[in-house]
Amino acid sequence: MIETFGKKLRELRIHTGTGLRELARLIDKSPGYLSDVEHDHVPPPSEDVILKIATALTVDKRELLTVARKMDPEISSYVAQEPDAADFLRMAKEKEFDRDDWERLSKLAEAAKLGKVGRNKR
């Protein structure tokens, strides 16, 4: 079964023992709207609202952002400030990187970063 944003949100909310109305109050939205989101009657909310939800429920924001197919505003801002990062992502898109490519690349990037740290220490 496809995991939707609404299902994920409801699962996390119930797991943390937070009421629908309580969460609506914490993120400054109406219970009706939040109910619509949970039942996937409306599209997932904006990134800012998702971050507010994650904070209110004290859950990992990545879980919610991923299922909503939204980008963490911190990452958007990072990419905007680092042109090389934007170029790299563009290249990855053109070359149609798949999950395996990203996994290998993550390992390589981690090793590169570790190597850099090691050199700095010496």
């Binding site: 119930i14 629908l20 219970p31 009706g32 039942h39």
Partner: protein, 231 residues
């Protein structure tokens, strides 16, 4: 929809069973205010939602609906907007009552909707046996007998209050005498003593009368309408 007759005790036992089951599954104590939303979601495992039921069902006085196949309870959006905690929580508890007491009958007898068999609750249907049973269940769930008696005793002592007079003999906010006109003050005092923050004064006075803690010997009924008429 026709449902079999059930005694008050049977309905009260069903509400107690639900509280005990919730307590066992969540390890959370169930003391007033009874967490009815969590009981529905975690205790009964049902989905809870708000929507414009009046528009959806094309009924002007609908408050809530219970969908059996979809395992969900829906409450009209207007109740959440009103910020009337007592009315909203009573509607939640009422719908939980339908689920516990009537879900097998709903499946058999109700009209078919988009999400399968469901029951919808209208103000104009309040006197039907199926609605009375759900109301009584809600009352027992939100105001357990033991806790209500404890709170009442704390405020008024162990003897029931017998209302012989319609109007108050005193004038002023410091003290009040038990009379029909003062029923909101009696209900408020018990609510505050027992922490029943999610029930209305009207629901509390009905429960107090049901438990024999308030006995109304006057001709007027203990309702807002008749209370204002006495002023």
């Amino acid at each position: 929809m026709k449902v079999p007759w059930r005694s008050k005790k049977a309905i009260s036992d069903a509400a107690s069973w639900l509280r005990v089951q919730y307590q066992a599954s969540t390890s959370l104590p169930v003391s007033p205010p009874v967490p009815v939303e969590d009981i529905i979601e975690r205790g009964l495992g049902l989905k809870l939602g708000f929507t414009d039921l009046r528009k959806k069902l094309k009924l002007g006085d609908v408050l809530g609906a219970t969908y059996v196949k979809d395992k969900s309870i829906w409450v009209d959006q207007s109740l959440a907007d009103d910020q009337n905690e007592g009315r909203l929580c009573f509607t939640f508890a009422h719908e939980a009552g339908h689920w516990v007491l009537h879900r097998e009958f709903i499946d058999q007898a109700c009209r078919k909707g988009d999400n399968g068999a469901y029951i919808f609750c209208r103000l104009s249907h309040a006197k039907k046996p199926v609605e009375w049973q759900a109301d009584y269940f809600a009352s027992c769930l939100l105001m357990p007998e033991k806790e209500v008696k404890q709170a009442f005793t704390e405020v008024f002592g162990s003897e029931p209050l017998i209302l012989y007079n319609e109007k108050s003999c005193f004038d002023g906010p410091i003290c009040f005498d038990p009379c029909a006109q003062n029923w909101p003050l009696i209900a408020t005092a018990v609510k505050a003593a027992g922490g029943f923050h999610n029930v209305s004064k009207q629901a509390m006075i009905i429960r107090l009368q049901d438990l024999g803690l308030v006995q109304n010997e006057t001709r007027v009924r203990l309702t807002w309408k008749e209370c204002f008429a006495l002023v």
